[in-house]
């Protein structure tokens, strides 16, 4: 039986879909059999970021309504042999066309065949959110270092704690070390202080991530990028490896500031 992990955030635009694509791909690179599930019905994006849009025939709603078999709707990512699949969302329906019970059935069926099911959750706390968490065993909350995103993440964590899901874990996305250093951006400690859940990754803000997404190639496929390494580390932490969180800045500084940094900013 596999594990279903829902990627959620509450607020829109913090990088749920990008993170889902990258965490899923990173797990596949580690040799796990992964299925990405896009639950953002009506506003699907995951297929675009994965570069699989032109191969979609059936979608999640078709499966829920019994118009096709589950395996017919799965889109195989040929770059990863038999490791990575996508269950796309429908673009023509809306979030009310699926209910949590149907989602649960679909996820349960996927868990028989896959090691990890990564569920990309829509923004908001309505039906789409309820659908996305219905079949999940674990949750990863994505936030950015902005007060509004942290506030929404806090709300989502409160809702997740009421659901029958393991304690949610946190990824801080798009952190910009220069802004944090100047005190113009929330730092990691401030965020973890408020949210008080386990932190499993910090992803630096990087233009390469956007470029890669636009080309339909998740950034983790580039082994040398900072953000890519961060996502790979998140995947390894999900697999249970213990990897220390790394420093944000890579430029070399004096020994004193290094020590100072060691106590303040981690990545």
């Amino acid at each position: 039986m596999g594990e279903a992990i829902v990627i959620t955030s509450g607020k829109g635009g913090v990088g749920k879909t990008t993170s889902s694509a990258n965490i899923g791909t990173a797990l596949a690179l580690q040799g796990k059999k992964v299925c990405l599930v896009d639950t953002d019905i009506g506003l699907r994006n995951l297929d675009v970021i994965m570069g699989l849009e032109n191969r979609i025939i059936y979608d999640l709603v078709d499966v829920a309504l019994g118009k096709c078999k589950l395996h017919q709707a799965l889109v195989k990512d040929k770059r990863f042999e038999d490791k990575l699949f996508l269950l796309p969302a429908a673009q023509t329906s809306d979030k009310n066309s699926v209910n949590p019970e149907q989602m649960k059935t679909i996820i349960e069926e996927l868990k028989k065949d896959f090691d990890y099911i990564i569920i990309d959750c829509p923004a908001g706390i309505e039906q789409g959110f309820q659908n996305a968490i219905a079949g999940a065993d674990q949750a990863i909350v994505i936030t950015t270092p902005e007060v509004s995103a942290v506030r929404d993440a806090d709300r989502i964590i409160g809702l997740l704690e009421k659901a029958p899901i393991d304690a949610p874990r946190l990824v801080i996305n798009r952190i910009r070390s220069n802004l944090v250093k100047d005190g113009d951006m929330l730092d990691v400690d401030e965020i973890t202080n408020i949210l008080a859940i386990e932190l499993i990754g910090i992803v630096a803000d990087d233009d390469e991530v956007i470029k890669a997404s636009n080309h339909g190639e998740p950034i983790v496929m580039n082994p040398n990028n900072k953000a890519s390494i961060a996502y790979r580390n998140i995947a390894r932490r999900i697999l249970g490896d213990s990897i220390p969180l790394q420093h944000l800045d890579e430029e070399s500084e004096g020994i004193f500031s290094k020590i100072k940094r060691f106590f303040s900013i981690r990545s």
């Binding site: 506030r151 929404d152 806090d154 709300r155 409160g158 704690e161 408020i194 008080a196």
Partner: protein
């Protein structure tokens, strides 16, 4: 005096204490109260008022019975029944009292969008995050950071207090008084309390002032813990 062993009168500095036997029938009791006051009538026709405290021992008196006793002690003779007391109360009243005096302990982070509303005092171990809210009909004690909203005495008790390890709320509410958080230049370094002072202003102050302004917060003083 005759046969009035079911009713005893004792003089105190607050007036007369009327002790009623709790084993005889109520009608006997009423009769004897009447006799007691008739036989001593000459003592009570003075011009000044006499205050009477009735204690019924282990007998439960209904509202109606209390009214009957008051009617028997004739108010025309300047006799005023100040209080009717008893060792026993109704079960539902007792439960209500427990509810109101209970301290509820919650160990959790109150997150954005969450609301905790309890009757009695609240002891929260954990933070109240911005957007979260705690309400209690009694006092609110927070072992953690108060960054959201706290409402103490939410049923109107303006003597309720709010204490927090870090008092940086969005809003404070005590009774019917709502206040935006004070503008501070830096974070408070020690635990603080909030209360309503005699001018009906909401004040944030050091914890040590609580002992002076709300001495009744000590629950165990009479139980001996503080005496020991």
């Amino acid at each position: 005096m005759g046969n009035s062993q079911n009713v005893t009168i004792k003089g105190t500095k607050d007036g007369l204490l009327l002790r009623l036997d709790d084993t005889c029938s109520f009608s006997t009791l009423l009769k004897e109260i009447k006799e007691t006051f008739t036989s001593h009538a000459h003592m009570y026709d003075a011009k000044h008022e006499v205050h009477i405290h009735v204690h019924s021992g282990n007998r439960f008196l209904t509202e109606e019975q209390i009214a009957q006793i008051q009617a028997v002690i004739d108010p025309n003779r300047n006799l005023i029944v100040d209080s009717v007391d008893s060792n026993v109360i109704l079960k539902e009243e007792a439960e209500r009292m427990i509810q109101e005096n209970r301290m509820t302990l919650i160990h959790n982070v109150v997150r954005s969008g969450q609301l905790i509303n309890i009757s009695g005092d609240l002891l929260l171990i954990g933070d109240v995050n911005p957007g979260g809210m705690v309400m209690a009909s009694g006092n609110v004690f927070i072992l953690g950071k108060l960054k959201g909203i706290a409402h103490a005495g939410c049923l109107g008790d303006t003597s309720a207090v709010i204490c927090a390890s870090q008092m940086t709320p969005t809003q404070l509410r005590i009774g019917d008084l709502y206040r935006r958080s004070p503008d501070r230049d830096e974070l408070p370094t020690e635990a603080e309390c909030a209360y309503i002072d005699e001018k009906h202003d909401l004040i944030i102050d050091k914890l040590s002032v609580l002992k002076k302004i709300r001495p009744n917060l000590n629950r165990f003083a009479e139980g001996g813990i503080l005496h020991g």
